[in-house]
């Protein structure tokens, strides 16, 4: 019997009922990973010993992640297992410690079956810049899956694993989730420890998960959240079990959407379909007893989100990655002096797009540019976060389309700085600027490709955001879908 369509919830019940075993699950997961690797390239490393680990599992099936195979973005440290950040400079790096999320999943007896491809060092949104090649969309391999959590999204969409972890600095879980027809959730900033995550922009970085149902996302976050003394930015645990709080009762909750985005005038056929789908989602919300209202945010402010993000993330990334010298770890360069060795390692180790980001980050941090660039971007960040927090005094969440269209074609050229792109595509950044919990769920198909809707809520209200998404998911009827390319048994 094939188990690839099972959610975590289903697996837990079947394991308890002794209808399946962790070994069966893990072996099937590895088989599927191998079957689809050549076509979609989701993994940097497959962990062949995972089935031995499953065979050795002992003890009661005491939690929903027991014996569940999962995948991990390759910028999260795994002791003794290759962790490359999908970059040549770290292509042989094996950490000497586990990230806190990995330790926590080990305690729950979840089983890691592979490390997934990302955009190099998590800088990118296409899933095409990893050092082991592009990740292809399991719904249509002519299209991108999006990034940077590309392989994690593809692995879940293909039914290889029921969940995968990713990281999200701008939208790197929630946008690919829309392109892959899966659930992507990043909780409140600090809810999940980042110890062992390769930092990109520390003030924006989050760890989160990709799953095929909202309840599964709750299970995963329940397992990995909590204070960590090795990450002083973590919050005290809220002592809630999110999965137990999902009752779908959202009557009286208030949501808003940004009028300047939804009313965008564009002859793009895809955008019209996105908006029609969004209006249907709103109707469902109203049927569930929620109130949904338009709100206004100045267009100039919305259009400045992306430039501000580039400045802040570029500046922080430049600094965070200064330790990649190839000397204590990473690929060593050649030369007669230390400087020459580092220069060579970094020249060969980083791709062009990474170097460009670092140069931009360095430029905005220069003494003569700091006030006009870096500090003003941080001022802009405060401005938008204050406005959203004001809205959250009235509303429980912000609901918007997760992306401006279906997954773009691999060779499609998109002008990131057109008015349409700036307004339609960048509201997910708000979730990182303010650390708000934010979730994307599948909301429909356009041209036989998945699209998603995003819900962002107040900080610390992870349970409320999940419950709204849970209720809406029931109405939308797309829970547990598997991508077109992954519907065969192995």
């Amino acid at each position: 019997m094939s188990n690839f369509k099972l959610t975590i919830d289903d697996i837990f019940k079947q394991l308890k009922g002794e209808k399946i075993t962790p070994t069966t699950l893990v072996e099937e997961s590895l088989q599927r990973a191998k079957k689809y690797q050549q076509q979609y390239n989701a993994f940097v490393t497959l962990i062949e010993t995972a089935s031995d680990e499953a065979k050795q599992l002992k003890g009661d099936i005491d939690n929903p992640l027991y014996g569940v195979p999962y995948a991990l973005k390759d910028n999260i440290a795994t002791k003794g297992i290759l962790t490359t950040g999908s970059s040549n400079i770290l292509k042989e790096y094996r950490p000497v410690f586990d990230a806190t999320v990995v330790s926590k999943l080990k305690k729950k007896k979840a089983i890691l079956i592979g490390k997934t491809v990302l955009d190099e060092l998590a800088m990118g949104g296409s899933g095409t810049t990893g050092h082991t090649g592009k990740v292809y969309n399991p719904w249509d391999p002519k299209r991108i899956i999006g990034g940077s959590s590309a392989g994690s999204t593809a692995a879940v969409a293909l039914g290889i694993v029921p969940f995968a972890l990713g990281s999200d600095t701008g939208n790197s879980i929630r946008r690919p989730a829309a392109f892959g027809g899966v659930v992507g959730f990043k909780p409140t900033y600090g809810r999940i420890s980042r110890f062992g995550l390769f930092p990109l922009a520390s003030s924006l970085d989050h760890i989160g998960c990709l799953t095929r149902s909202v309840k599964d996302a709750a299970y995963v976050v329940d397992a990995i959240k909590g204070h960590d003394e090795r990450d002083m930015t973590t919050l005290p645990d809220d002592d809630k079990v999110y999965a137990h709080m999902l009752d779908g009762n959202v009557k009286g909750k208030k949501l808003c959407y940004i009028k300047e985005i939804i009313d965008l005038d564009n002859d793009n056929k895809e955008w019209s379909s996105i908006i029609n789908n969004f209006k249907l989602a709103i109707k469902h919300c109203e049927e569930l007893g929620m109130v949904v209202e338009p709100v206004t945010i100045d267009k100039q402010l919305l259009k400045a989100l992306y430039p501000a993000y580039l400045i802040i993330s570029g500046a922080e990334a430049t600094s965070n990655n200064a330790n990649l010298t190839g000397l204590p770890f990473g690929n060593r360069g050649l030369g007669n002096t230390i400087d020459d060795i580092i220069f060579d390692a970094r020249t060969k180790g980083f791709s062009q797009s990474i170097k460009q980001r670092f140069i931009f980050g360095s430029y905005v941090l220069q003494k003569e540019n700091q006030a006009n660039f870096f500090r003003n971007a941080q001022r802009l960040r405060r401005m938008i976060v204050e406005q959203i927090n004001d809205l959250f005094k009235i509303y429980d969440g912000l609901i918007l389309p997760a992306a401006r269209g279906i997954a773009p074609l691999l060779n499609e050229e998109i002008d990131d700085f057109s008015d349409f792109s700036l307004l339609s595509e960048n509201h997910l950044l708000i979730g990182n600027f303010g650390g708000f919990p934010s979730i994307t769920i599948p909301s429909g198909l356009v041209d036989e490709m998945p699209i998603g809707v995003n819900i962002t809520g107040r900080i610390l209200d992870d349970d409320i955001v999940l419950n709204i998404a849970y209720a809406l998911e029931t109405k939308l009827g797309l829970k547990g879908i598997i991508a077109r390319g992954g519907r065969e048994d192995v």
């Binding site: 204590p328 220069f343 660039f373 802009l380 900080i459």
Partner: protein, 97 residues
Amino acid sequence: MGVDKDLLKKCANSLMFAMEDEEYDVLQAKFKVILEHIQLMNKIDGLAEKSPLTFPFTLKDITLREDKIVDCLLPSELLSNTNEVVNNEVKVPKVVS
């Protein structure tokens, strides 16, 4: 609005990597577009009155971990990702002549 190519090269040099000359042309063109949009950002009403936000929100209840003796990594583990090791130290070219 643009950026001089020599300045970009200076940045790359201080970041300790090199790029091909044509890569600087691409970057220069990108800078031009980004800087135009940053200028628009800088003109937003009320921006100057805001203080920079460096962190998503103010963390309360920050507890520093207690000082306690714990096991630490062995030198061999710490050096396991280093290509050239001599006497438990990273080998590098002679620095002082």
